[in-house]
Symmetry: C2
């Protein structure tokens, strides 16, 4: 009797983690990662659904069932990018002991994303989302919220190191200048500027805001 109850509970447990029908043959994270790489390399409009299904190894009906339409998939890709490529690097920035070394490491970390061999050149948000957001209110809001989040996080960092800031600069101002610098790096990377030139800009930025 108790055995039956235990079994039922056990089954409910399985039901929660193992849904009814035919199981998915693809991994959502892997598929999103591959979608990200295509959008990043080719841009939003230039990426066709056929490009996506090929890269993601997911056919169209499955893609629509799992991610919705192209724009909805792109929004999920942006979140995936922010969570997996940007967030860990800004977390590391927050742990820095001082402003200068923190920024140096942050720029080094970010350059893996923006000019690294593992990814297409430039920041996905700066280079791809920015163009397309003119055509869609949802994408525009996504861009705005990404910028707001970055501004706040970076301002928090500068706030904990304000004694190292040039005296007439506020943490918020420094944060916005840093974000601009990152966008600048990104666009230059897209244009093919070699990493060595970008490093000089990072150094110049640190000089410009430091006491």
């Amino acid at each position: 009797m108790e055995g039956k109850g235990g079994d039922r509970l056990h089954n409910l447990d399985i039901q929660r983690t193992m849904p009814r029908g035919r199981p998915r043959e693809f991994d959502t994270e892997t598929a999103l990662n591959n979608a990200m790489l295509v959008f990043w390399r080719r841009g939003y409009r230039a990426t066709s659904l056929d490009d996506l299904t090929e890269a993601m190894q997911v056919n169209k009906p499955s893609l629509y069932a799992a991610f919705g339409d192209k724009e909805s998939l792109f929004l999920q890709v942006i979140d995936f990018y922010a969570n997996n490529l940007l967030a860990p690097r800004s977390s590391r920035l927050m742990q820095a002991d001082d402003m200068r070394s923190g920024l140096e490491r942050y720029f080094a970390d970010l350059s893996e994303v923006v000019v690294g061999k593992s990814y297409p050149p430039g920041c996905l948000i700066a280079c791809v989302l920015t163009e397309e957001c003119a055509e869609s209110e949802a994408l525009k809001e996504k861009l705005a919220s990404m910028i707001k989040g970055a501004d706040e996080r970076l301002a928090k960092f500068f706030n904990t190191h304000k004694e190292e800031l040039k005296s007439d600069l506020s943490p918020k101002q420094a944060a916005k200048l840093l974000l601009s610098t990152i966008y600048g790096l990104s666009i230059r990377a897209r244009a093919g500027t070699p990493k060595r030139e970008l490093v000089e800009i990072c150094e110049a930025f640190i000089k410009s805001i430091a006491k």
Copy 2:
């Protein structure tokens, strides 16, 4: 006899300015300006040839005869943009008496382009060319040459005012930071950031590089 010779010369002269066939019914500059506005608002890929012919008031065969294919037209649009909207503003910068007032006016001038009511938000180069340049070598080279030109012009400006620069910053470095700042403004404008917030960034930039 001399009269005949004079007439012939006169006719040759007309031939040079007045070509043979049916005259064009559209003005090239006006058409380019209208093409620019569409590309700027909608992006490169999202702009169809039908959008262009409607905006330019030029039908497709005439458009192809006058400007070549879509990419070729876009390249001419970029030059039109640089020559007509950017060049006059950076010329005015070069005439400034001191760094601070020069930059203040430059930012004010540029904000007409980037957040003005007369144009779509953001810089055409930063927001539109940057995405598409990943798909075309010609566009990538155009972006690179635009960046190079801007770097050189701005460095020249800072070089004539280097006594006002923070002592550890070179004119070249200041130029690259300024260009990054402009890109940052541009992307924020595309996201819908109001002008008043952008002005704060301009002020912060000037503080960051000034002595």
